[in-house]
Each structure stands twice: as structure tokens, then as C-alpha cells.
Symmetry: C2
Subunit: 337 residues, 2 copies
């Protein structure tokens, strides 16, 4: 068939498709609510208005699909983070699991306190204690092995107060938002203070975010051979802390474009939101404000975990969207299967 013949047939198909589907699609779009767990109100409206603006071809705020970069914090934004970051609860469970191979930990802080169940005592020893707990439990194995360890833990561990598996404590409205943005040709990235390998272990399955779209804190890796087979060994040395002012740096290193939409919940996300919402062209910044002591937790300016203080002021100054979890979200977690 000639190219001309092919073009003609394509045009006929397009025409027929238009006639057959036109009205039906229009009706479907009008009736479909992409964000059913969001109550009608300012937050939902602001999201939908922004998406409508940047996807309106020919409009003044149109953004090409390749540039529709949306970045999401993880802890407290996509899943819960109380009473402690879940990755730290994983580390504590690992200390307990590894203790039989480390009899010396009985007399060695911060492990001794942890093993006696005195979490408060362990944490009171300061940042170096936390770093040591993380380094010890996140190194000394290959990246593939670590991925397996995290997967096993996520499949069996339960949250201390809700009793749910941790991956059931993702926020249903945010899952809908991720899907909604992707349906509008956004590329969704996670930009987390948590460990990049830890979050990748569940991000694709739970959030639909592939590993190459996860930006996080990292330890150094070493390419080496074990029995003739190459692997990437996780070392106990910090490589990069993707938090606070580190978030725009992590975004540039991994994405290399300025996002046009950013979603966070704490002061650790402030630089990321500032970076996103001072770019040229349209942009959108949103803070999830934890206001629901009954269904989730209520905390902000004075919380040890997920402190949101400067960020609340910046949101007011910048006209950013602040989600009132209690009133804006119809559901918190996904429905039980």
C-alpha cells in the first residue's frame, strides 16, 4: 500500500472513531470523579483547576507533557509517619532480628536500650544513635538482598497502634491524586527523606511509581564480585541526605527539570515547594496538614515527627493549598479488601 493510501485509511478510521465515540466520551468525562475520596471544597477545586489549566492545549498556561513533573514527599504525604517514621520501625525490628548474631549489643548503646524495649532511651542518645541504628541495619548486604529483606518485613510487620500492614496505611486520596495526575500526562516522582532503596521496595506496587522515579536518601554503594558474580554492596556510609535543602538538589540530580507541582507535609519539604513554586510558568504547591486526631493523627508546629511550622507560614504567604485532612478527605486509608 502506498503511504498516501495508508494516510487516507487512517483518516477514515479517525473520522469513524470520532463519530462513534464523540458524544459518549463527553458524557463519561462529565460524570466521572477522578478524586472520589476528596470532599468538594477549595483543596479539590484548586487541584482540578491547576490540572485543567496546564493541560488546556492552546491556553495561556499549557505545559507540554514532558514538562509535567510532579514531586511527592512520602512520609506523612503518601503514607502515615506516626508514632515514628516506618523505616525507623523497620530498623528497630532488624536490630531485634539480628541480635542473636550480635551478643555484644547487650552492653552496647544504642542497641542495649532498643533490645530492652527502651526506645525512648535509645532515641535520647541523639542523632548519632539514630544514624548508627540505620547504618547497622541498612548495610552489609547487596541491594538485591536488602530489597528482599524490606519486602519480607512489609509483608509481615504490623503497625504498633493500628495493627495494619504498613502498606495499608497509604492515603487513599493521594493514590487517587497520583492516578489523576498520570492520567493527565504528568510524570510522578517520589522525593523522600527516607532511603531510596527502602521506598523503591514498595513504590511501584503501591503507588505506581517505578524505581527510576524515586529520589531519596542514600548510602554509598560499592560494585564488587562475590564468587564471580557482580553485586552492589550497601556500605555503612551516608551518601546523600534528601531532606530540607537537599530535596531541590536531589530533584536536580535525578530529574534535571524543575517540577511544576509539589506535594509535602512538613518543613522538610519546604525547600522543595519553594523551588517548585518560584519557577517560571504555572506551578502548584500543596501541604497535607494532619488535622484528624480521630482517623489519623493531628500534629503540626511542635511535632518531633513531621513538624510543619515554617511551612504553614510559607503556605499562607504563597497562597499554596493546605489540605485539612479532617474536612477535605472523605477516606484516609484504602478500603479493606
Amino acid at each position: 500500500m502506498s503511504t498516501d493510501g495508508l494516510s487516507r485509511r487512517l483518516a477514515i478510521v479517525a473520522l469513524l472513531a470520532g463519530l462513534l465515540l464523540g458524544v459518549g466520551n463527553f458524557e463519561a468525562a462529565a460524570q466521572h470523579d477522578a478524586l472520589p475520596s476528596w470532599n468538594d471544597g477549595q483543596s479539590k477545586q484548586a487541584i482540578m483547576d491547576f490540572v485543567a489549566r496546564v493541560t488546556h492545549e492552546g491556553g495561556p498556561d499549557f505545559v507540554k507533557p514532558a514538562e509535567r513533573i510532579a514531586v511527592f514527599d512520602n512520609d506523612g504525604t503518601l503514607w502515615a509517619e506516626q508514632p515514628l517514621y516506618f523505616q525507623f520501625l523497620f530498623a528497630i525490628d532488624r536490630v531485634k532480628a539480628l541480635a542473636p548474631q550480635h551478643p555484644e549489643w547487650k552492653d552496647q548503646e544504642p542497641f542495649a536500650s532498643l533490645l530492652k524495649g527502651d526506645l525512648k532511651g535509645a532515641l535520647a542518645q541523639g542523632e548519632h544513635a539514630i544514624v548508627e541504628i540505620i547504618a547497622t541495619t541498612h548495610s552489609g548486604m547487596s541491594t538485591d538482598e536488602f530489597n528482599g529483606i524490606v519486602g519480607d518485613w512489609l509483608a509481615s510487620a504490623k503497625h504498633p497502634t493500628s495493627g495494619k500492614p504498613y502498606t495499608d496505611m497509604v492515603y487513599e486520596p493521594m493514590l487517587e491524586l497520583l492516578d489523576y495526575l498520570r492520567a493527565n500526562d504528568f510524570k510522578t516522582f517520589i522525593v523522600t527523606g527516607g532511603g531510596i532503596e527502602f521506598v523503591r521496595a514498595f513504590a511501584e506496587q503501591r503507588y505506581g511509581v517505578p524505581p527510576e522515579q524515586v529520589v531519596g536518601s542514600s548510602a554509598k554503594l560499592k560494585f564488587q564480585f562475590r564468587g564471580g558474580t557482580p553485586l552492589l554492596q550497601k556500605l555503612p556510609d551516608v551518601d546523600f541526605v534528601n531532606d530540607g535543602d537537599g530535596k531541590p538538589v536531589g530533584i536536580q540530580m535525578h530529574i534535571g527539570r524543575r517540577p511544576i507541582a509539589a506535594f509535602g507535609n512538613s518543613d522538610g519539604d519546604l525547600a522543595m515547594l519553594q523551588w517548585t513554586c518560584t519557577g517560571a510558568g504555572p506551578h502548584f504547591c500543596l501541604y497535607v496538614h494532619h488535622t484528624d486526631a480521630e482517623r489519623e493523627w493531628a500534629y503540626d508546629r511542635t511535632s518531633d515527627i513531621g513538624k510543619l511550622d515554617k511551612g504553614l507560614d510559607a503556605a499562607a504567604d504563597g497562597g499554596w493549598t493546605v489540605v485539612d485532612m479532617k474536612n477535605d478527605w472523605r477516606a484516609i486509608y484504602p478500603p479493606q479488601n
Copy 2:
């Protein structure tokens, strides 16, 4: 319209499309050569066989599109690298451009030699001299400013022997290969020893590879404010060297999956090819061997730039594909416009 009605109409459209396009498409596929700049032979056949295997749904070697990760070295693999890495030629031009603001360079090595046109003398001062030239010319500005500087240089600078703009010295057969893999739902990444920001400045336009799919060496960045506006300042400190054993590390940090296809041209790519071609499941490794002294350059085991020595042995041991540039490539550079 009911969902049932919509489904029925969709089915009708699919049927009509099939009738109208079926035969035409089949003919087009049979006649279309996706790699016209590749001569028929083992290299071309090996590439096409691999792609056919991993895309054959239901076949034993089928790989899901999300896992079709292909990684490409840049210097010597996607564009030329003689007589010196083009990024280093950029750095030399920058030294000359900045010299009026740095009168002290007249008496300060390695700049004094460079400014006298004594490149050999500058390079003979060793690795610290090279690092200093790169650090000086690649820091002290924001990422956005650097992107503009590289863009201006690429638009005006000419290669010292060919007289071509540098971006005209990309390899036409490799451009076809990138397109061919993407048409088969591969995700193509550049994994370069060169600077991540330098390569991003032209990768999207020249290679169709967006910035988030460029992995490279990097300097440290700092998030800071200038006149109330945030920016990312490029610091003179090395962050990561994405070469040799660093390449699998860079791949894990950025992509988080093991590639199934890797393309390189030097010993600096060996670890990347080893990492790719020892994974479970189907994999493909290819070295571009520079054998064409007439149309490009001929060099391998003893070259200062792009040395390919251990890699040639590993390719023979591993049964990797080795492209003989002179005989396998019908064209080297894209046709002149």
C-alpha cells in the same frame, strides 16, 4: 451512553480499523528497515534478534516493557571523543573566555599553559590539573546559567579537525538504534562519565533522551537564594564520578533496576556491561569498536582516550556484540541538512 454502549462502539471501531489497516500495516512492517545505517551482518542481526526475543509476548524471553531498560555510554558510543573528550574542549574554550576576568592565570598553572596554547603541557601536569580545569569552568554559577553557557557553546563551537558543530558528530547508526529500542518500548538512558548537566544540555534534542534519563558525573550543588529567588549553585567539589565501577552504582542510584541492554565503547564501560550481562533473564551487551581511521578514528587497546583493552577480552569471553565501525556502519554521522 451506557458502558455497554461505549464498549460496543469501541469494538466496532477496532474492527473497522483492523479491516482498513491490517494488510497495509503488515506490508509496511515487512518493508521497513529501522536501522538503515547498519550494514547487514552479525551486529545488526544480533540487535534485531534480541529485540525480537524480549518483545515476543508469550515467548520464553519476553520482558515486560517497564523492565526494558537500555543504557548507553555517551563519549565514543553516541558521539565522537577524539582528539579529546568534547566536554574538555568546552572547558578549554571556557578558560579562554574567562581569562580576561582572571589576569592571575597568566602565571598560574595549568591555566598559563592552556592560554599559551600548550594543551600538552597543561595535560602533562596530571590528573589534578584536569580536575582543576573542570572545577573552575563548571562551578560558580547556577545550574540554569550553566545550561545556557553549554547551549551557547554547542551552538557556535566547531570541532578542531572536522570543522563540524559538535552535535553533528553524533553517530547516525546509534540515533537509529535509540529510536528502534524506544519504538519497542525500551526506556533509553545515557550513563556517561561526562558531566550530567553538560550532557543534559543537548541529550533531549539530539538523542531524544529527557534529562531525567541522563546519569552522569556530578559536582555538588547548593540550594540558596539570590535576591529572594532560589537557585542551585554549582560548587567546585566533586560529588560522584560515574565511570568504571561507578557506572553500575550510578545506574542503581538513578534507575534502581538492572538494565537488560548496555552499549559502550571503552574499558570505562566494562563494569556497566558486566552488571547488565550477568543479570537473570535475557540481556544484551555491545561494544562500539573504533576501526574506521578514514571516516572517524581507529583506536583501542593503547589509546589515552577511550581505551578498549580489557573490554575487548571480556567481549570475546562473554560473546558480546562488537561493532566494527568500518564494516558495520554504512554512515557515521547524520546527513548534512
